[in-house]
Amino acid sequence: MPEGHDCNAPNATSSFSGDACISELQEHLLPIANVGRIMKKVLPPNAKISKEAKETMQECASEFIGFITGEAADICHKDDRKSVNGDDICSAMKTLGLDYYGNAMKRYLIRYKEHEERASTSKLNRNTVIDIVDELSISKAGSSGRCPMNHPRG
């Protein structure tokens, strides 16, 4: 357990998300509260999640980001480009065997860019809704408890 400020301590002065208190040791991790919320959403209401499970999940998410970003940086380097963009992330995912993620994120990125384009050109308020749920079938299967992602073995 790291010394120093504990974001989860009852007397901590951090915000709910934990993002306001960034100790050095937490900088490389996503906030545990956010991670916990995401996990809770796909589990049955009576499910409990141990703190260690959330911490492991934090580490997995950071490793995921790092692993893919490294590959994306190599893609950029080969293409002689300076900046890692969303398409590089999607390509990197597919290169690393995460085809489902790569394809889903490609669709998400297209919708996001369209949304940003509309928001900036028409000066609409930013409350326009994007129904990404229909785009990503994982969310449809989620409530049934089935895992829709069957990654090919080997």
Binding site: I38, E52, C60, F64
Partner: protein, 127 residues
């Protein structure tokens, strides 16, 4: 399936992440995970092989990761839950997350993470 109504919120809350995940909390902004933190994590890993300095990161890249990490966390949580049920438990433990990683080939890159988490701390030095 719940009806998807457009809800206008005072702050910039899109529906493509936070409401699906955390409800209308208004605490996470439009994304379920903080973009600045994601960008910081990316920066640590954005140096290409053979290069000295990290690359620049476009604004959309952390947005992609915000969604992708949601998906990853959800997949690992669901698979971990299956492991918990096999162990006849209603509490998701870190060993369940480890089992989910071990059973999914594409998550081999996470094996070192879950093994590090499982490793017991070194014994205190003898006097």
């Amino acid at each position: 399936m719940a009806a998807r109504k457009h809800v206008a919120l005072p702050m910039q809350a899109g529906r493509y992440s936070s409401i699906l995940v955390g409800g209308i909390s208004g605490r996470t902004g439009p994304h379920a995970l903080p973009l600045a933190r994601i960008k910081r994590i990316m920066k640590r890993n954005s140096t290409a092989a053979g290069e000295a300095s990290p690359r620049m990161i476009s604004g959309e890249a952390p947005v992609v990761f915000s969604k992708a990490c949601e998906m990853l966390i959800q997949e690992l949580a669901r698979r971990g839950w299956e492991a918990a049920l096999r162990g006849k438990r209603r509490t998701l433990l870190k060993e369940d997350v480890a089992a989910a990683v071990a059973r999914t080939d594409v998550f081999d890159f996470l094996l070192s993470v879950v093994e590090a988490e499982a490793r017991p701390p070194p014994p205190p030095a003898a006097q």
